[in-house]
């Protein structure tokens, strides 16, 4: 397959299919995330990159022999390893009988929310989730360090002019999008708050929220979107999300309990757990949404810059 566009679309389809695998195997939260992230955001980011780098792969001679060797070796190693595994779906496998039963049986009493995945994610293993937020934050900072460019105000006017002239062309999609965006944002908030009871939570909500903003940016231009959400504002939100999450831990520490022990947040342990989970989900949501927007903005900015350069080059080429 030499057409990268097709490659990326197929990857998106693969992600979506694996998301339906996850639903079939009872992992609704994971499926939700995979659909939003794998099929949504990463496909989108890859498409943006393809518009920058060009969509066709050069025909190069690659050396498949070594790769095949490595792959066959690793694969047979794994197949060899599978022979002693417990069979698929068996209920008394060690994985189901050691740590997990406590989550299933006690989490209602100890944490008090019906969605066990959320209670493990946000309370029993809250520190992993904190790490996850920091990973996303790191990625945002890393992308910014790699791609951010200085502002050039005089060119902005030019691009707005182009945007206006293209308004006619995108009329249908713009109007439909304007109708949709409020619903998407509302849905993001629903997912944010509903994470305790069904699939959802801060991470998915953040991605959906970011998707709405990204949709807006794609249709109305980066400059317009920048007017609503500027770089330093997003940075502030991203940092605030991580800080909010960390502060929940620090407050419980100041109350005399261990880090992330939500029981200490309120007089009643279960109420404390509720409060803690609510707050950290907000932290996750803020950071994820703002980092996703930040990453997309930086990508789009590079693309715009490159196109401007090409335009200038073309004009110079013509005058020569």
């Amino acid at each position: 397959m030499k057409d990268l566009f097709a490659v990326v679309m197929l990857l998106g389809i693969y992600s979506l299919l694996s998301a339906s695998f996850f639903v079939a195997m009872d992992a609704v939260d994971v499926a939700f995330t995979e659909a939003a992230v794998g099929a949504g955001i990463s496909t989108l980011l890859m498409l943006v990159v393809i518009t920058i780098t060009g969509r066709s792969e050069k025909t190069t001679r690659h050396k498949p022999l070594l790769a095949l060797l490595v792959v066959v070796f690793t694969g047979s190693m794994l197949i060899y390893g599978t022979f002693d595994m417990p069979y698929f779906g068996i209920a008394d496998a060690p994985i189901h009988s050691h740590v997990a039963p406590r989550y299933i049986q006690e989490s209602m009493k100890e944490v008090g929310i019906p969605n066990i995945v959320t209670s493990v994610l946000a309370s029993y293993r809250a520190f992993d989730t904190f790490g996850e937020v920091v990973v996303i934050f790191t990625a945002g900072i890393g992308v910014m360090a790699l791609l951010s460019v200085g502002r050039r105000p005089e060119e902005n006017e030019k691009t707005t002019a182009i945007d206006d002239s293209m308004h006619e062309q995108y009329l249908v999609i713009r109007i439909v999008t304007k109708m949709l965006i409020p619903f998407i944002l509302l849905y993001a908030l629903y997912v944010q708050f509903h994470g305790d009871f069904g699939p959802g939570g801060g991470f998915q909500a953040g991605v959906i929220f970011a998707a709405a903003i990204i949709l807006y940016t794609m249709l109305f231009g980066l400059t317009t979107a920048r007017k609503v959400i500027n770089q330093s504002f997003i940075q502030f939100i991203a940092a605030a999300g991580v800080l909010l999450y960390g502060c929940v831990g620090i407050v419980s520490m100041l109350n005399g309990a261990n880090f992330f022990d939500y029981n200490a947040l309120a007089s009643d342990p279960v109420a404390g757990q509720h409060l803690g989970i609510l707050l950290i989900e907000w932290g996750v949501g803020c950071t994820v949404a703002s980092v996703m927007i930040m990453i997309f903005f930086n990508f789009a900015e590079r693309r715009e810059m490159q196109q401007n350069n090409e335009k200038i080059n073309n004009i110079e080429g013509d005058s020569l």
């Binding site: 995330t33 994985i95 992308v143 990508f299």
Partner: protein, 130 residues
Amino acid sequence: MIIGLYNDWVVVVLMMIGLYIVIAHGNLIKKIVGLAIFQTSVFILYISMAKVEGGSAPILAEGIKQFSNPLPHVLILTAIVVGVATTALGLALVIRINEAYGSIEEEDIQHLDNQTQDETELQATEGEQS
């Protein structure tokens, strides 16, 4: 009875397809696509080990006794996020590489690198001689 392991074999095949793309292909975007496939297949491995026959999604509700294991779900939620973070950073690097080298093919880049290496060495030896 060995057929009870079919889920693992499917996953292994998927993983190896991803790994093969990463190693064998020269296009940088394709490498990242390969990584994504590789990682997603590992996610399927985890989720498939969490499934319990007859169990339902781990959300407590009345009348349901058997649940699938929630812990791998939590782990994979985290891993998905890590995956997208890596993808984003990798793509950012691809953009920069494209700007710096004018190409996103491994061969071209290595070729250009060898050239610059030769040039610097040439300059160094010239400096020594003069």
